[in-house]
Amino acid sequence: MLQNLPIPFLVLSFLTILSALYVVTSKNPVHSVLALIFTFFTISAHYVLLNAQFLAVVNLIVYAGAIMVLFLFVLMLLNLSKESEPVKSNWWGIAAAISAGSLLLIITAAFQVSGEAVAKNPVEGIGLVKALGKVLFTRFVVPFELTGILFLAAMVGAVLLGKREKAVDALISKEESNG
């Protein structure tokens, strides 16, 4: 079945899965971050294949650009760039693999059995800024506005948590002097 697929799709998919695997297995957090960024690039390429040009760009800007930089920033701030994570025992890895694998197996097997397909009705230019913008600012204008609440809440929350208080500082200095 795989040989019938176009080469770009196969290569991209292969790269995506490979880099995703590297994300979860790499011991060094910074390597994970970089691998994740690479995964995002491949996913963006998928978007291009799928005619979703706007999303491809947004994905790069938001995920690879903003979110991952935030991650890197925190990693550096907390000085976690070295391999600090204790290795888990083998059976734990097996348990995790079995759980995740069984989920994967169940879903794919179910699709394999039913072999259903979605009605194919591609429309040219649906993924362009022009088309999406029209939809976003007409039908989806309410959720779009309401994301304002989400961001305001996230901002206030992040400030609330990030702000240092005297009590917290005292606690830390005490702990440090004890330790």
Partner: protein, 460 residues
């Protein structure tokens, strides 16, 4: 919609007044704004006022503003108003926390009135993200930190599962609108006995998992006891009431859409309900901490409400409304008293020792609250359970049996409250304030217990 506007803008005003100003008058202002939201919503539902101009701005395929939605918005605003009111004195919180709680409430409004899965998703996130923060608002308290991180990680994880389900549903039905989903061909075929497409089937399961996580039903409840215990009391109460009610309404709306293929989800849903009921009640038996006991009790209540999901056909939301009201008022009473007598850090039931001698009013209010939670007549809780069980009986008699068994078990731990409040000698002298409000709530519970139908007729 009006509730969302009033709540959001008063929260914004509070934030402008100063991010971290701590004065109990701000809580009072916030509570007032919430009561105004509740009142206006209720007035909308009773057709006393109309904000048609505002609501027509929202496309009909995004949010729905019918009578029920207004009533649920009113209920949620009312509960949060009371939470802020009852907790305003013990530990004054800054405007940022007040604002966050009100933003979170906006998410709950979205969840009760969504018509489009985008709105549901945004609602869940607007509800949750401030809560992640609020759970950790006691920044110097390690338990609070832990609660926050646990809640966040598991919440984000469940969001992932929820979204996968949404994607499947989208692929299966071809739409994200509740009304459109139900008329897509693949769906209609399934209703006529053809096999249900895997996409829809798996989508329902995965989305349900996401929502079951929010309502804390087994086996997706593990976060609840830990997070409830670690969070500040106010936040715990908010999670146990508002989040639960909003998530159940959202769940109900979602499942009513798939009412035609109820056979596909009724079976496992009822099994989960039974497990939740038993798990919650049994695990609560041995808890030493008051908050953990209440957390497991709230899990058990989620189990009872799963019964309500099983009769999702769009006609009986009033049961959930009444149940939510009864449960929230009882929780308010118990949590508020627990908060007042134990704020020195006593987590166990010893905090209640000798309450009947220190403050008979508070002890009686506590008794009323606990009896209502346990579902003993004459209390609002009994009527709520009675309505729920007698309607569910026609759909799932065995689950009602499990529910009754669960409420029989629950007496075992609700009894601890009595024992400590009425039989033990006082071990601390933490004062109980706000007795007027406690009495008001207790009286309301009894009124709803004695004359439920009269009250429902007036309000609903």
């Amino acid at each position: 919609m009006i509730a969302l506007f009033v709540t959001f803008f008063s929260a914004a005003v509070l934030l402008f007044l100063g991010l971290n100003k701590r004065e109990s008058s701000y809580s009072l202002f916030a509570a007032l704004a919430l009561f105004v939201s509740a009142g206006l919503s209720w007035a909308c539902s009773a057709n006393l006022v109309s904000f048609h101009g505002l609501e027509s701005w929202v496309p009909a395929n995004m949010m729905q503003f019918g009578k029920e939605q207004h009533l649920f918005a009113a209920l949620l605003a009312f509960i949060v108003g009371f939470i802020l009111l009852m907790f305003r004195k013990n530990e004054v919180i800054g405007n940022d926390q007040l604002g966050l709680m009100m933003f979170s409430l906006c998410g709950a409004y979205m969840m009760v009135s969504y018509q489009h899965l985008v709105m549901l998703f945004l609602g869940i996130e607007v509800l949750s993200i401030p809560l992640f923060v609020l759970a950790g608002a006691n920044k110097s308290n390690l338990a609070s930190n832990e609660a926050s991180l646990k809640y966040f990680l598991m919440g984000a994880f469940s969001t992932g599962i929820f979204l996968l389900g949404t994607a499947f549903i989208y692929g299966g039905t071809g739409s994200l609108e509740l009304e459109m989903m139900g008329i897509k061909p693949s769906f209609m075929h399934a209703m006529q006995g053809m096999p249900l497409p895997v996409l829809i089937n798996a989508g329902i399961v995965l989305m349900s998992v996401g929502l079951l996580f929010k309502v804390a039903a087994a086996p997706f409840h593990f976060w609840a006891p830990d997070v409830y215990e670690g969070s500040p009391n106010r936040t715990t109460l908010y999670m146990a009431t508002v989040v639960k009610i909003a998530a159940f309404v959202a769940f109900y709306r979602f499942l009513s859409t798939f009412g035609g293929i109820a056979d596909a989800w009724k079976g496992w849903m009822s099994v989960l309900g039974a497990i939740t009921i038993l798990w919650g009640n049994l695990a609560a038996l041995n808890q030493a901490s008051v908050k953990r006991t209440l957390a497991f009790s709230s899990i058990a209540h989620a189990g009872y409400l799963v019964m309500f999901l099983l009769m999702a056909d769009g006609t009986n939301t009033w049961i959930l409304w009444f149940y939510g009201l009864a449960y929230a008022m009882a929780s308010l009473l118990v949590f508020s008293i627990a908060n007042q007598v134990s704020f020195q850090g006593e987590r166990g039931f010893a905090a209640f020792d000798g309450l009947s001698k220190k403050s008979p009013v508070a002890a009686i209010a506590l008794a009323v609250g606990v009896l209502s939670m346990a579902g003993i007549p004459v209390s609002a809780g009994f009527n709520a359970k009675f309505y729920l069980f007698s309607f569910a009986w026609q759909h799932m008699p065995w689950l009602v049996g499990v529910g009754l068994l669960g409420s029989a078990i629950s007496v075992g731990y609700y009894f601890k409250f009595f024992k400590h409040a009425f039989m033990n000698q006082p071990s601390n002298d933490n004062p109980v304030v706000d007795r007027g409000w406690l009495m008001l709530l207790g009286g309301l519970i009894l009124l709803l217990g004695a004359l439920p139908w009269a009250v429902l007729n007036v309000i609903y």
